[in-house]
Symmetry: C2
C-alpha cells in the first residue's frame, strides 16, 4: 500500500488517498486511537462517488470508526472490461424496453465483478488492519450487494454488514446468501425502477443470518432518506463496539 | 373521563387508570409541561399486556412523550362478543390446519372491531387533549394494524403512526390504506407464523403516505428486537417534535 496524498477535512478527519497495487482507494481516520473499520462499498467510479463516500466516511468518523474504500474493477481510472460494458448495456436495454432481465445478463454483469472485487477488498483489510489507527472489528456497508454477500461469507474479519438491495442478483449469489451468518441490515428503496423489488425481498429471505433487519423506504435508487444514516450508525455501534450502551440488543 | 387510581413509577412517571364511559384505560405522564401524546395500541387484554404497555410508556416518557391506551372492544374485562370469539376460533382452526384463511373470516374478525374501536380512540383524544399535561401532536403506535390504518385516515390529530404488521387485513382495509397520508413506520416480524407475510408487504405497498418505512426483523410475533424501540423513538421525535435536532430529515 502506497499513500499518494492526504488532506485534513474541516472536522479534523484525515483523508488519505492510496494505491494498493494498481487499485486506487481512500482511507479516512480521526485521531490516533485504534478505531474499528467500516468498508464503504459503492457502485463504481470513485471520482463521481466521492462526495457521497466522503459524507459517509465523516459520519463514520463522528461515530468513532475509520472508513476505507477502493475503486471497483473496470471502473473509474481502472482499465475497462469490454465484457462488463456489454453486459451493462444489455441490462439497460432490457430495462428501457420494459423486458424481463435475462439471468444470463445478470450473471455476466455481476459474477465476474464479484470474482475480481472480493479478493481486492480482502487485500485492503490485510493492508489496513496492521496500521496503528485501525483496529478490528470490521463492517461492510453499501455498494453492489453481491460483493457484500460474498465478502460476508468468505471474510471472517467482516463482523456485520449493511447491504443495499439496489442491483440485480445472480441465482448463484442467492445460494451464497444462505451461508451468511453475520448480523445484517438490508436497505431497500421501494420505488427503485432499476431494481427488482421481489428479487430484493427474496434475497432478504434467503440471507442466512439469525439477526437480519430490512429497512424499506419510499423513493428511488438514490433517495435513501437521511434518517437512515442514523440506523446504519446504530447498527454498527451495536455490532462493532461491544461496549456500546443504549438501544439494547 | 374518570380517573380511578394512580401510582408513581420508580422513574417518576405518573400512571393513572381511568374509565372513559365503560372503557377502561391507562394514562402515563412525566412532569407537568405539556407533552405530545403517543396512543399505545395492543391486541387486547390490558391485564396481560400491562408489562409491555408500561415498558413502552416509560420509553415514551423518557423521550418526553405522554402515553395512553384503552381496552379493545370485547377484550379484557369488557363484555365479550360471541361473533368475535367465533371468528377468532375459525381463524385459529384454519391456521392450525394449514389452510388458507378465508376472506370472510378475516372480515368477521377485524371489521366490527375497527368499527367499534376507532371512535373509542378518537373519544380518548377528546378527553385527553384538554389536560394541561398533554399537548398535540399525537402519534399512534402498534396494536391491530387495521385499527391504526383507519384511525390514521379519519383522525387528523394523529400526525404519525407506527403500524405493527402482525394481523390479517380485510380487503376493505387495503382500500383505506391508500388514503393514509401521514408518515409511517411499519414493523414486520419476518417469521410470524400467525401472519401472512405477503399480505403485510402488499399492505405496505398500498399505504398511501409519501413517507413510509418498513422495518422487517427475523423472529416471531412477539420477537420484536429491543433495538426497534430506538427506531420508534427516533421516528416519533422526527414527526412529533418539530424542534427535534439530530438524524436529519
Amino acid at each position: 500500500m502506497r499513500f499518494t496524498s492526504e488532506q485534513r477535512l474541516d472536522d479534523g478527519v484525515l483523508e488519505r488517498a492510496f494505491t494498493l497495487g494498481e487499485v486506487p482507494g481512500v482511507l479516512w481516520t480521526a485521531g490516533s486511537a485504534p478505531a474499528p473499520l467500516i468498508l464503504l462499498g459503492h457502485p463504481g467510479g470513485l471520482r463521481g462517488m466521492y462526495p457521497r463516500l466522503a459524507a459517509r466516511a465523516r459520519q463514520c468518523a463522528a461515530e468513532g470508526f475509520a472508513a476505507a474504500t477502493i475503486e471497483l474493477p473496470w471502473a473509474g481510472e481502472r482499465p475497462p472490461s469490454a465484457a462488463a460494458d456489454q453486459a451493462r448495456a444489455d441490462l439497460r436495454r432490457a430495462l428501457e424496453a420494459g423486458e424481463p432481465v435475462d439471468d444470463g445478463t445478470v450473471d455476466r454483469l455481476v459474477l465476474p465483478l464479484v470474482e475480481q472485487a472480493v479478493p481486492e477488498w480482502r487485500a485492503l483489510l490485510d493492508a489496513l488492519l496492521p496500521l496503528p489507527e485501525i483496529s478490528g472489528p470490521v463492517g461492510y456497508s453499501g455498494g453492489v450487494i453481491s460483493i457484500g454477500v460474498r465478502l460476508a461469507v468468505v471474510e471472517p474479519r467482516v463482523r456485520a454488514a449493511v447491504l443495499f438491495a439496489g442491483s440485480f442478483v445472480p441465482r448463484a449469489v442467492f445460494d451464497e446468501a444462505r451461508q451468511v451468518t453475520v448480523p445484517l441490515l438490508v436497505l431497500l428503496q421501494w420505488d427503485d425502477e432499476g431494481n427488482d423489488r421481489r428479487m430484493a425481498l427474496d434475497l432478504f429471505d434467503a440471507l442466512g443470518s439469525a439477526e437480519k433487519t430490512l429497512h424499506a423506504n419510499t423513493g428511488g435508487h438514490t433517495g435513501v432518506p437521511a434518517f437512515e444514516g442514523e440506523s446504519v450508525n446504530r447498527f454498527f455501534a451495536r455490532h462493532l463496539r461491544p461496549d456500546h450502551r443504549g438501544g439494547g440488543r
